[in-house]
Symmetry: C2
Amino acid sequence: MAQKPSIPKGTRDFNPTEVAKRNYIFKTIRNHFEVFGFQPIETPSFENLDTLMGKYGDEGDRLIFKILNSGDYLRKVDEKAYEAKDIDRLTAQISEKALRYDLTVPFARYVVMHQNEIDFPFKRYQIQPVWRADRPQKGRFREFYQCDADVVGAGSLLQEIEFIQLYDAVFSDLGLSKIKIKLNHRKILSGIAEVIGAADKLIPFTVALDKLDKIGEEGVISEMASNGISDSAIKKAMPLFSMAESEGQTFKLLSEFLESSKTGKEGIADLQFIVDAVGKLGLSNTTLEVDVSLARGLNYYTGSIFEVAGPEEVKMGSIGGGGRYDDLTGIFGLKDLSGVGISFGLDRIYLVMEELDLFPPAIDQSLQVLFVNFGQQEALAALPLLRKLREHGIKADLYPTDTKLQKQLKYANNRNIPFVVLLGKDELEQQSMVVKDMAKGSQHTYAWNDLQQFIGLL
Amino acid sequence: MAQKPSIPKGTRDFNPTEVAKRNYIFKTIRNHFEVFGFQPIETPSFENLDTLMGKYGDEGDRLIFKILNSGDYLRKVDEKAYEAKDIDRLTAQISEKALRYDLTVPFARYVVMHQNEIDFPFKRYQIQPVWRADRPQKGRFREFYQCDADVVGAGSLLQEIEFIQLYDAVFSDLGLSKIKIKLNHRKILSGIAEVIGAADKLIPFTVALDKLDKIGEEGVISEMASNGISDSAIKKAMPLFSMAESEGQTFKLLSEFLESSKTGKEGIADLQFIVDAVGKLGLSNTTLEVDVSLARGLNYYTGSIFEVAGPEEVKMGSIGGGGRYDDLTGIFGLKDLSGVGISFGLDRIYLVMEELDLFPPAIDQSLQVLFVNFGQQEALAALPLLRKLREHGIKADLYPTDTKLQKQLKYANNRNIPFVVLLGKDELEQQSMVVKDMAKGSQHTYAWNDLQQFIGLL
């Protein structure tokens, strides 16, 4: 019995059109990464288990795909752990490798391992798949690509300015408009928690605040309360809820609010510098706005925090994000190396572009010219012509068998091939070929010697 | 205690120069794949375990990397198998996914799953990593890329002609010369085994014959004898040993040798057709030769067999290979679909090109222009100029901190950056910039307004 094939849940096959569309986005991102001076690295798909474990919290540890050791993996297993079915101990004994969960931890590992070969500051980009044993759902997969650009070894705010320009350049080039880049700062969030008297509740406070968009003011207040934030603190925080809509007033309101916090004022100064510089340079197709409710990745970001919202007309979460983390490589023993980076969410960008019909129309035109196959003699005569077309970089092919003309033309139609060449018995005698323009329905005869004329059209 | 980081054995980090060189090879191969009418697909990194198991022989099954099920993977384990530590049964119960071992089986699975969306004949290419738990050694890794092009649903020998042209186009474009494409046919090997009276020993006979290059005539004879091939059969096979060096005589000698074998003569006719057609078309930089000792992948190839030997001046095994298999998708229930394909060995091509110094010299020039950072005011003034360069697609950057000039110039040198821009206090006042040509040591001053002049140079 033959197997009925399937693929693991949360994974995908990509057909030629999907690959072309994905590559179009990758290529655009990669071009801008390189123009901005980032250099590519690649790391292995699997890392040693202990490189990854403990870096993403307990939930993250569970979502890491572990690879079973090869050979007799039970040979060295601890008998007691085996008998007790002690999963945690057993896993560490039968699995020493795991699939990469993100690109940041492997990058930190790379920087530490190769620190003596790297010229710092090091601007690297990395576009590779990552794997997470998450419950699959719409837009969430178990294998997906991340596109990251990071700078290590540079504390200057010029990097933040540059990342905002980079987002602007990529999204403009992809034809996405009305994109909002939201900006916040860890020190502003710390300052707020300090001012309202909830410094010890920074994380639950910001996590709740981050949901303002989704659950509204009342929802945020009740979540804060249920996380033990006092009524008086919540009351003091009230002005923040409206700050998001204050437009040009944000810095003024924020300065008043954080007047008593040294940390908060440092955060404001950083953002003011970034916003001023970006304002002078100008953005093409995106807008930059300070959003004090943005708290993305607060567990590791220590400075600026970015998030990019998709266009308003498409219901979609963020399509990018990033921030600054002061001690990227500390976990692997290289202290005090500041890192700042951003990421592009390929799958969501793809969905947005699909919905807004932004891919170039000819993107699935994988073949420009198809020679019809009328039989062995005719096919052999077509080969030198085909060869010349290909030498000119033209995507051209000969139908492999001399099946019915009807069927060959249907194939050309299905594949959206603009020119079909007919080289049958008569043409063979006359050393000519008939070129059919499939869109116009017109046709034209060329002598083999005049192939160059046809090439000129393509 | 910080961890001292490492990566799993048999895996590799790629630094920016290595990525650039690898991408140069990938891009060349991909361009030609597309010009020849192949379309890209991508499949998931892991497949269901039963999609892969049993397809590569017992040894292959052992080399497949299995992924441990997520969550409490012992919950559903059979108690008896667990107590008995019955590895085979246990593995199937705690692992239902595995990393892809090659691109051919996933392709066959893809074709069967998507048969109703595909326009046959389907020419697909696929460039993705595969994983094997092999013992790592020089040139053999546990994670490596395969670059495959295959046609399914076309029985015509035109495909074979095309694949030879494709090899020629790629290797010529990469600058590799004196490359030999070796050609053989399953039916010729069957015919030989038949004629010498060893039809039941086809596999050991051809496996031994395949080693002629390595172990010489005597070695081959003794291996055949030890595999139960009779003295009389070996004696009859003797003329084959010198056939490889017979140059233009091969077809004549082979026809005489296989005169009594219908199968053998079919094989000769196929190869004669291919060799004649390729001869008429001509090859740029490679030579095609029939090699009756070539027996690569005989377990699955049913028609033509290809192998590409690296240039003679570099000690390296084959850098490509392929063949025709009549029933590619039968294992997944779609019968009688002929497939023929070739593969490029990226890692070996890389090593050959490195040894022959064939990579373009500027391949590691990841940045064309670097602005020196003289402090905040100067840096901010550089930003609009930098932006304009980047808008012209020029890879340009500003050093992120105002560290010592010496250090910044050293960084420019290390990164092989051809132009360094000095925009200090004086230039800021005069709205100008000094461009230093790092190779020539010369420098030239441009007004900011004349940036276009500098851009013209790049």
